[in-house]
């Protein structure tokens, strides 16, 4: 509401646009989803945590102390500095430093950025793949459907983490060494994304098969619009509810998968650690008392995944009209 108010004060913008945005905003704030949001304290907290973490990682270059991914900034002698509140802490390293002298606070920001990027991108990838295939399978049916679903069966008959391992291994082998670090992130995105598309495809296919028989789709067919138009403009918006829920959960799973893969040694390069890689490196120092190297990234990861999961939970309930 405040956002809208500010826009109005700002003036000079197309009034029609403002009123329309206001209208949409008002409708949203008035809607049941928003209401159920305001009713759940834990969801609000989760949303705030998510916004802070996502915001912080987007703004990482501006709010970090240094760029930990640039080796020029690192000084090995700064390594293992404890958090600032402990005896040997230094203000240059508010949360302490890691084994290479990276400021942990900055590294967590950059690491979250990477983790979130991998998470979002892989979800976007599996979502677009899964939603398109699900729509096609559900709407066209027949042998197209059978084929897509058999592929999905095969895919689901095999643990996601092993699929990710396979793709990762293949990509590493096929790609020339130099381009490794740059493309590794994308390989991970592909690997994690591929292991998740089936969830989307199955859900979308199921809903599409329900929607396909609804009369508004038949009405569109009677009008004579094309199949693509029906799939994209009519059916898709109506099957996106559950997709959104799966997407949130998938995001959490993707971020954790990246961490698990890094434990198995196929994550991002350690010079540009993600949260998962940071934890993997940091757990080496759990016994030696340099707990902050694993605890802070661990807490960040847990907070992020937890918040996203809670949001997903809430979304699931909020979007389910029966449970309202």
């Amino acid at each position: 509401m405040t956002a809208a108010a500010r826009t109005v004060e700002g003036g000079g913008i197309d009034m029609n646009f403002i009123s329309r945005t206001q209208d949409t905003l008002h409708r949203f704030l008035d809607g049941d989803v928003w209401y159920s949001f305001t009713q759940s304290r834990i969801t609000i907290v989760a949303a705030i945590v998510t916004i802070i973490l996502v915001g912080a990682s987007v703004l990482a270059p501006f709010i970090s102390i240094h760029d930990p991914f640039n080796p020029v900034n690192l000084n090995l002698m700064d390594s293992f500095t404890p958090p600032v509140w402990s005896e040997d802490g230094r203000w240059a390293f508010p949360l302490g430093s890691d084994d290479q002298g990276r400021d942990l606070y900055s590294t967590i920001l950059y690491g979250s950025r990477l983790s979130l990027f991998i998470g979002f991108a892989s979800v976007a990838f599996s979502m677009s793949l899964g939603v398109s295939l699900g729509l096609i399978a559900g709407y066209l049916g027949g042998s197209v459907d059978a084929f897509i679903m058999r592929v999905a069966d095969i895919q689901i008959s095999f643990p996601g983490i092993l699929i990710a391992l396979l793709i990762d291994g293949l990509a590493r082998a096929l790609l020339p060494g130099e381009s490794h670090d740059e493309v590794m992130v994308y390989v991970l995105i592909l690997a994690i994304g591929l292991s998740q598309w089936v969830n989307f495809a199955r859900t979308v296919r199921g809903s599409t098969m329900v929607e396909r028989n609804k009369e508004y789709v038949q009405a569109a067919r009677v009008i004579g619009v094309s199949r693509l138009f029906i799939m994209v403009r009519h059916i898709m918006p109506n099957v996106m509810g559950p997709v959104l829920v799966i997407a949130t959960i998938s995001l959490a799973v993707a971020i954790l998968s990246e961490a698990a893969l890094s434990f198995l040694g196929v994550g991002v390069p350690p010079t540009q650690p993600s949260l998962g890689t940071l934890i993997r490196i940091g757990q080496d120092f759990l016994f030696s008392g340099e707990w902050w190297i694993v605890i802070f990234p661990g807490m960040t990861l847990a907070a992020l995944v937890l918040a996203v999961n809670l949001l997903g939970d809430w979304l699931r309930d909020a979007l389910n009209p029966k449970l309202r």
Partner: protein
């Protein structure tokens, strides 16, 4: 039912072939097995000779055909590293993984289902909310970290539980079991918890949401209107109907437990196939890696089949007996 089994089997064959192809393709690239098999003094010529004798120099289709043929006969070859038939090593290692997975799955189900039911029946109680949130915390940390923290706490600080391995095992025929000794059971606790935690959360949430849906159905309302006791309604009617979808997902999850056991096993040095797989990756022991992947795929396939059959047993609508329909 027979048709179902046949269809499943034929799908399974396709699955297995694809898995074999994937595994096979990947292993061409994971590294050089020969350099892992010899010390650094071995000459390049000797290395080359080994590649030839391992068949690594044959044309790829020939290698694949050989791989599939051998695999179909349960013949996975001789481990490059251990120098023993892979099938034999697998059969030694499988009990450990199966016992761990079984306990983890039981833990996940026996705790997850009641928790799910409770949270569905009493959505507003604080205990439900606590269950939901705490279980989420458990899955918000990477498994390996949970495992290490458990080791640190229960193993090192409190010294209550063994930090690694299976403890004392007893051989029953060809099966080594840790269930029969105190140390075996103690050793199971932390790994099973670590492994089961994630699935527990999933199952609990699944049961909860399915059950909440079921509780809103007309037949539950009608069951209440018939004056049935709460117990009969919630457990006799609601839970049974909830279990139908839960079975499918849980089945897949059990498959995932076996897959995720790799991480847990390597954290706890649990001598199962997952640990063997991780070690094999490091050492590029291709026969072991392929055998493992094929084994996991087989596992999934079998579980899927069982799930399908269960599904048919539980849900009478899927039983095609034709009698009396459309009276």
């Amino acid at each position: 039912m027979i048709a179902l089994i046949i269809r499943r089997s034929y799908q399974s064959v396709v699955v297995m072939l694809v898995v074999a192809l994937l595994a096979f393709t990947m292993f061409r690239y994971v590294g050089d097995p020969v350099s892992m098999m010899v010390g650094q003094d071995t000459s390049l010529e000797q290395r080359e000779a080994m590649r030839v004798s391992l068949g690594l120099k044959d044309p790829v289709p020939v290698q694949f055909a050989r791989f599939v043929m051998n695999t179909a006969q349960g013949e996975f070859g001789i481990s490059y590293q251990l120098g023993r038939p892979v099938a034999e090593i697998l059969s030694e290692r499988v009990p450990a993984t199966l016992e761990l997975s079984l306990v983890a799955a039981l833990f996940a189900m026996l705790v997850g289902i009641p928790m799910g039911v409770y949270t569905a029946l009493h959505p507003q109680k604080w205990l439900s909310k606590a269950f939901l949130t705490i279980s989420l915390v458990g899955i918000s940390l990477p498994t390996f970290l949970i495992g290490i923290l458990l080791i640190l706490f229960f193993g090192v600080l409190l010294n209550w539980l063994p930090t690694f391995g299976r403890g004392e095992v007893v051989m029953l025929g060809g099966w080594s079991t840790g269930f029969l000794s105190g140390s075996g059971v103690k050793s199971l606790l932390m790994p099973a918890f670590t492994l089961g935690m994630f699935q527990l959360t999933l199952i609990m949430r699944l049961v909860r949401s399915e059950m909440m849906e079921v509780l809103l159905t007309d037949y539950i309302k009608f069951a209440r209107a018939r004056g049935l006791s709460n117990k009969a309604v919630n457990f006799g009617h609601a839970l049974k109907n909830t279990l139908v979808p839960v079975i499918t997902i849980t089945g897949l999850q059990i498959g995932n437990i076996v897959a995720f056991a790799t991480i847990t096993e390597s954290v706890f040095q649990w001598p199962g196939v997952g640990l063997m797989f991780i070690q094999a990756i490091g050492l590029v022991d291709i026969p072991i890696m392929s055998a493992y992947l094929v084994l996991v795929a087989l596992f999934f396939v079998i579980i899927n089949l069982i799930v399908d059959i269960l599904y048919h047993v539980v849900d009478p609508r899927l039983r095609v007996d034709g009698s009396g329909a459309h009276g």
